[in-house]
């Protein structure tokens, strides 16, 4: 829709504007704009500017280190990396997902529900709620979780406690809140004790209530600002994610489903071990993050969105009652087969938060969760592929090993990478709609960032590196002269000097 803004012709004659870095997202990215003499936006790009090289340096390591090595790509969704790697190395010891013991599968699912719950809570309450509660163009000093805790103590504290609960689920299963150990090739290294299970059961009903409150909150925020919330940064796209065999929303294991913007099926129950036949990644010179696309639709039209919006759009139903009721309301608010609103990512994310809380309760009541039959063994293989629905979307881990069990090849497609094109499109939509022809202001910058933030990008995962730079916006004219400059100070003041 806004592809024409990706690369401007005669860019040397255009003014450059940079938003650097994008804040309140995890990791480091920046936006650059090129403007013509009438301040019309001619080019807009989200660049991911760091690089780590995981795919290369894990080569030469023994495969069994992978789950604990690669989780250090990301301290926000370490469990998703841990489990995607574990699913891949299960195959290296000859174990397919259906062959895991029921206790191992359920412990992993419990661990992952804890992960998605804590990540979604973190993103909504700690990172995005200031925009959504105070307004996108609110005072910079208010745009943080501390201000939310002051202004809306109940909401803020519920967010902190929801996240805490997810972290505690992770700690009970894997020993540590961040970078624990739990999954091993062919299963799990420990079960839950009765005492651990009972500890988690104590608060679970409260968590379900608070999760339901948060869904009600985002619905109110979204629906009280229509049509703005349906239009801001909104783009039409394809959607991709895992799905259960019966069409239910799935976060741990399933086949790939992809639908187009009309809701028509592109792929369904597609075996993820064949992902390379369906998805390739394009490299562009201006970003360390690659651009995946569906081969059947080609580079131009094959890009897609992943994550909560994709999952809630793609599924036929959610298999927990409160989240399903919330999904029906969500779908009903739009009169299209698919909800394309970018800000609806927040709403979909909180529906999933509720689903996680409900699912945790169900699993804790399942006797298998304290079962002791945890590991399966099979025949060694040389290639393993593990795919999972991480909080931010479909996550692919692919490894090859030699006869000594040493990793020889690795390919990782992290969730945020799949949203690369979509985030760029949303940035271009906001730039074209709200920026073109206008004078630069700080709130304007935050609009660009709100668009990116909706995707909950984990640029740290996506680039396998992170960092931040001061936020400074410069306007340079065709002669290369600085004509305008905005600087955010530490106390939130904005300075302008030419």
């Amino acid at each position: 829709m806004y592809e024409h803004l990706e690369t401007a012709e005669n860019s040397e004659n255009l003014k450059r504007v940079a938003v650097d870095p994008v804040s309140r997202v995890e990791g480091h990215g920046k936006v650059t704009l090129l403007l013509d003499e009438n301040n019309q936006v001619r080019q807009a790009r989200l660049h991911i500017v760091e690089f780590r090289g995981f795919e290369r340096f894990i080569q030469g390591r023994p495969y069994w280190e992978l789950p604990v090595l690669v989780q250090r790509l990301c301290g926000i969704c370490p469990v998703s990396h841990h489990l995607a790697a574990a699913k891949a190395i299960d195959q290296l010891v000859g174990v397919d997902p259906d062959n895991l013991t029921p206790s191992a599968t359920k412990l992993r699912r419990l661990l992952h529900f804890g992960q998605v719950l804590q990540s979604h809570a973190l993103h909504f309450f700690h990172l995005s709620s200031p925009d959504l509660l105070f307004g996108f163009e609110s005072d910079i000093g208010k745009r943080n979780i501390i201000a939310v805790l002051n202004a809306y103590p109940d909401i803020g504290l519920q967010g902190v406690k929801l996240r805490k609960y997810g972290q505690e689920v992770i700690r009970m299963v894997s020993g540590k809140r961040i970078h624990g150990t739990g999954a091993i090739a062919g299963g799990m290294n420990k079960s839950l004790t009765k005492a651990e299970r009972d500890y988690l059961l104590e608060d679970v009903d409260q968590m379900i209530r608070w999760a339901a409150d948060s869904v009600a909150l985002i619905k109110k925020v979204h629906c009280s600002s229509l049509p703005f919330y349906d239009e801001f940064a909104t783009i039409r796209s394809n959607y991709l994610g895992l799905i259960q065999p019966n069409g239910a929303l799935e976060l741990y294991h399933g086949g790939i489903r992809a639908k187009n913007d009309q809701g028509e099926t592109i792929l369904d129950h597609f075996d993820y071990c064949r992902y390379n036949e369906a998805i390739h990644e394009e490299v562009r010179s201006w970003s360390y993050m690659k651009f995946p696309y569906l081969l059947s639709l080609g580079k131009e039209n094959g890009w897609y969105r992943v994550g909560p919006l994709a999952r809630v759009n793609n599924c036929d139903f959610i298999d927990t009652p409160m989240a399903e009721a919330a999904r029906l309301e969500f779908k009903a608010h739009s009169n299209e087969a698919m909800v394309h609103s970018t800000l609806a990512f927040h709403w979909a994310r909180l529906i999933e938060l509720l689903h996680c809380a409900e699912s945790i309760k169900i699993l804790l009541h399942d006797p298998d969760i304290i079962g002791q039959d945890l590991v399966t063994q099979g025949e060694k293989r040389f290639e393993g592929i593990g795919v999972i629905e991480a909080p931010r979307g479909t996550l692919f881990h692919h490894y090859q090993v030699d006869e000594n069990d040493i990793v020889t090849k690795a390919n990782l497609i992290v969730s945020t990478t799949s949203n690369n094109m979509a985030m760029n499109e949303s940035v271009r939509q906001v730039a074209a709609t709200y920026l073109s022809g206008r004078e630069l202001t700080e709130p304007l910058l935050n609009n660009l960032e709100v668009a990116i933030r909706a995707y909950d990008p984990c640029l740290s995962c996506a680039t396998h590196a992170v960092g931040k730079m001061p936020l400074q916006l410069e306007l340079i004219d065709v002669e290369g002269q600085l004509v305008d400059k905005l600087i955010k100070h530490n106390d939130g003041r904005i300075d302008r000097n030419a």
Binding site: R72, K164, R177, H179, M469, P470, N490
Partner: protein, 180 residues
């Protein structure tokens, strides 16, 4: 507490944000902290430059020119600078790339990877320069304290900060110190 609040800045260089997440794991103690501390530049605020801070917490090692720049800004503006976690202290996991030439890492990701189309190494002037190796932060600036762990636990952050805030020399008990 009527005294002026202590200003704390935090940043993540070549880290995974796990240390920041572990800091947030102080959970509801956040409210207590907010009474005596205010956050300056940090991934959880929109403040992008730190100035006149009392404490600076650095997560992650140094992997590119921009990390060097940010680290120097922190040293200049923070009275006490703390290296938090394995990555800041010795480069951590990302430093595994130090054993491999940088070109090979780039080649693997952008030229020889599975399913890569339009192979090329990103080279736009908008992308900052990578260092040949990932370095610990104390090789670049003076560091006052080191908090080990991957990540240090929430209790480590809590004990360290409350000691400092109450004017004691920080000390961690045996159980709190770990090097995972």
């Amino acid at each position: 507490m009527t005294a002026k609040k202590i200003r704390v800045a935090t940043t993540s260089l070549a880290g995974c944000f796990g240390c920041h997440m572990s800091f947030l794991d102080i959970d509801e103690r956040m409210l207590q902290l907010a009474e005596v501390v205010e956050f300056d530049r940090s991934p959880i605020t929109d403040i992008e430059h730190c100035t006149n801070c009392d404490i600076g917490l650095i997560e992650g090692g140094v992997c590119n020119s921009e990390n060097v720049h940010v680290l120097r800004e922190f040293r200049k503006n923070c009275k006490i600078l703390v290296a938090v976690g394995a990555c800041a202290i010795n480069g951590g996991l990302p430093a595994l790339r130090n054993f491999i030439p940088l070109e090979e890492c780039l080649q693997e990701a952008y030229l020889d990877g599975i399913g890569v189309e339009n192979p090329q190494i990103p080279s736009d002037p908008e992308l900052p320069l990578l260092l040949d190796k990932v370095r610990p932060v104390h090789e670049v600036v003076k560091i006052d304290y080191f908090l080990p762990g991957c990540p240090p636990s929430a209790d480590v952050f809590w004990k360290f900060l409350t000691d400092l805030l109450e004017g004691r020399e920080p000390s961690l008990s045996y159980e709190l110190v770990h090097y995972d």
